[in-house]
């Protein structure tokens, strides 16, 4: 419910060409699109260009979307098409090279599977990014940067116990936030929860 209201705000702002909404959507999807494209074209700089291009094409169709989920589908479809073009051009240029990862029908399967992977990871990423300030900082330090509790405590000038508390809080909020969203997203917290039990 809360989530849907927030989505509504973003869509309306996006239709009205408000920069804040454009940026929100960009932050929501840019990194997952880069990741997706890099899986397909195996080149980081190229991948970032593809994500950029996909986003520009979204901006051409600002009034065409009623739901955030449609925007997500659109962005991944466009990125996938750009990747296909990329490979076609590359093949034309360097015909004879056998290492093509993505082309033709067998490669459609590959692209399809990568789409599922990137979209699933995007859901988890979005929830991590939506954590409140200190929670997010602690969470990312542990989870993304692999730092220890005492290092984080020293770096942030907080007590080790506070780091542990924030970690627990992050998990709690993640689960709450996910529950409010589509129930399908709730699993992300479980994945993340199991990270912690292993750390």
């Amino acid at each position: 419910m809360i989530r849907n209201l927030y989505d509504r705000e973003i869509i309306n702002g996006f239709r009205r060409d408000e920069k804040q909404s454009i940026r929100t959507l960009y932050l929501m999807y840019y990194r997952s699109l880069c990741y997706f494209a890099e899986r397909l074209v195996d080149d980081k700089t190229e991948a970032e260009d593809i994500a950029h291009e996909a986003f520009l094409r979204l901006l051409d169709k600002q009034r065409d979307f009623d739901h955030i989920s449609d925007i997500k589908s659109f962005l991944f479809t466009v990125a996938r098409n750009i990747c296909a073009d990329h490979w076609r051009n590359k093949k034309r240029r360097e015909s004879g090279i056998q290492e093509l990862k993505y082309l033709d029908s067998t490669d459609d399967v590959f692209a399809e599977i990568e789409t599922v992977r990137a979209k699933a990871l995007q859901l988890i990423y979005e929830e991590v990014e939506n954590l409140p300030g200190q929670c997010k900082k602690v969470f990312k330090s542990v989870f993304i940067e692999g730092k220890t509790t005492s290092d984080i405590a020293a770096e942030m000038g907080i007590m080790p116990q506070t780091v542990l508390n924030q970690k627990a809080k992050a998990l709690h909020i993640l689960r709450l936030a996910l529950a409010q969203k589509n129930h399908s997203l709730a699993a992300a917290s479980l994945i993340i929860l199991s990270f912690f039990s292993r750390h």
């Binding site: 809360i2 901006l59 992977r117």
Partner: protein, 390 residues
């Protein structure tokens, strides 16, 4: 056929919320191919997911955003040029263009009418910044007046609004003057970066008095209403917040001060670091996660543990009610939506809980809280009247 995507079903599976229909679908999907099976295994393997998610953070999103911004600015220019072209074309194709305009106008009216019926008896969330800065010389500067760039100059200090809408003080002052940032009722939350790098968020119906530059060996600011501080570390210069007679002394830390006059207590909540609070004869030190509550009628003080995220919900753009009475809730709503609240008879004693976006309209908030049950409310303009029905 299932109207749900495979990645969502996989996540439902991990979560344990998968339906039997979805499980059947997922099973079929896994059997379909070796590559499907492999992906399923990878996505349900925590360490692998962690490793992949780490890659997300290797992409520079600020750099990418700069490229988008450049493109947006470029497009705006092109649009304006196109507009000139179309104006010229319109003169030649007068009749056709007129028809088109009427057609679109008609449509717009329908939309507007619809919107009007929906929001007739509702109050929208604050949309724009109402806040302004009162300069030492009496002049005021509205924050909404500039999209980005220099708001005003004060001696050698520039008051600048950055791309995130935050107000920043740059430069060193030759003489210290005091400015006041005022955020009236019904204004969105504003944030400010002081000359020493300290960040302050100001809730609606609040104000912050601060110098354009901190001189001497103390950094002193005064507030009314509610503010959240992320103080820049400077062991040589104490940072002091004064509000409602309560003094909070800090050295570099994150904390919230609530001094609303219509509340029974003035509250200081510490998120990070350490602060000393005092009022009259009472004083004490706070640890992270603790809150000091001072009675507004005496010097009495109590320190207890609190849920910091609930206290800071306003900074994150939410209302966070936890077993609160309707009068308590309505006081918070009144500041945000700029309301006049009145209760017909004795206010209900029921308790309400919920986390709701501050961007929601008033009626939406009330509906989510389910406050409509057992009470009746009527909204007229900015006045809301509440009555018990049971």
């Amino acid at each position: 056929m299932l109207n749900i995507k495979i990645e969502e079903i996989i996540i439902n599976f991990i979560d344990g919320t998968i339906t039997s229909e979805e499980a059947c679908f997922l099973n079929k999907w896994i059997q379909e191919s070796e590559i499907n099976k492999q992906l399923f295994e990878e996505l349900t393997h925590p360490e692998l997911v962690s490793k992949e998610l780490q890659k997300f953070y290797t992409y520079d999103e600020e750099l990418g955003w700069n490229r988008i911004e450049t493109e947006l600015a470029h497009r705006k220019k092109i649009k304006q040029t196109n507009w000139k072209y179309w104006t010229a074309a319109a003169c030649m194709l007068g009749v056709i263009v007129t028809t088109v305009v009427i057609f679109f106008k008609g449509n717009d009216n329908i939309i507007e009418n619809k919107v009007a019926t929906v929001v007739k008896n509702d109050v929208e969330a604050p949309q724009s910044k109402r806040a302004f800065i009162q300069l030492a010389n009496g002049e005021t500067v509205a924050l909404s007046s500039v999209e980005k760039g220099i708001l005003t100059e004060q001696g050698r200090v520039n008051i600048v609004k950055n791309s995130e809408g935050q107000i920043v003080y740059q430069g060193h002052a030759t003489e210290t003057v005091f400015n006041t940032l005022v955020n009236p009722r019904g204004g969105t939350v504003v944030s400010l970066v002081l000359n020493d790098g300290t960040r302050v968020w100001l809730n609606s119906e609040s104000s912050l008095k601060y110098p354009n530059s901190f001189s001497g060996n103390e950094r002193i600011v005064e507030i009314t209403g509610e503010a959240y501080f992320e103080v820049a570390k400077d062991p040589a210069k104490k940072f002091i917040v004064k509000g409602n007679g309560v003094i909070t002394e800090v050295f570099g830390t994150h904390f919230n001060v609530n001094t609303y006059n219509d509340e029974a207590e003035t509250k200081v909540t510490l998120q990070e670091g350490s602060v000393r609070v005092l009022k009259g004869a009472s004083s004490g030190f706070l640890k992270p996660g603790q809150r000091a509550a001072f009675s507004n009628k005496s010097d009495q003080m109590a320190i207890d543990n609190t849920d910091v995220d609930k206290v800071l919900a306003w900074v994150y753009g939410d209302f966070n009610f936890d077993d609160e009475t309707l009068p308590d809730i309505m006081r918070q709503l009144a500041r945000w939506y700029d309301l006049e609240v009145s209760f017909e008879g004795k206010p209900p004693a029921d308790l309400y809980s919920g986390i709701i976006s501050r961007k929601s309209s008033l009626v939406t908030v009330l509906q989510i809280l389910n406050a409509a049950e057992g009470i009746k409310y009527s909204i007229e303009g900015k006045k809301i009247k509440i009555e018990r029905t049971k």
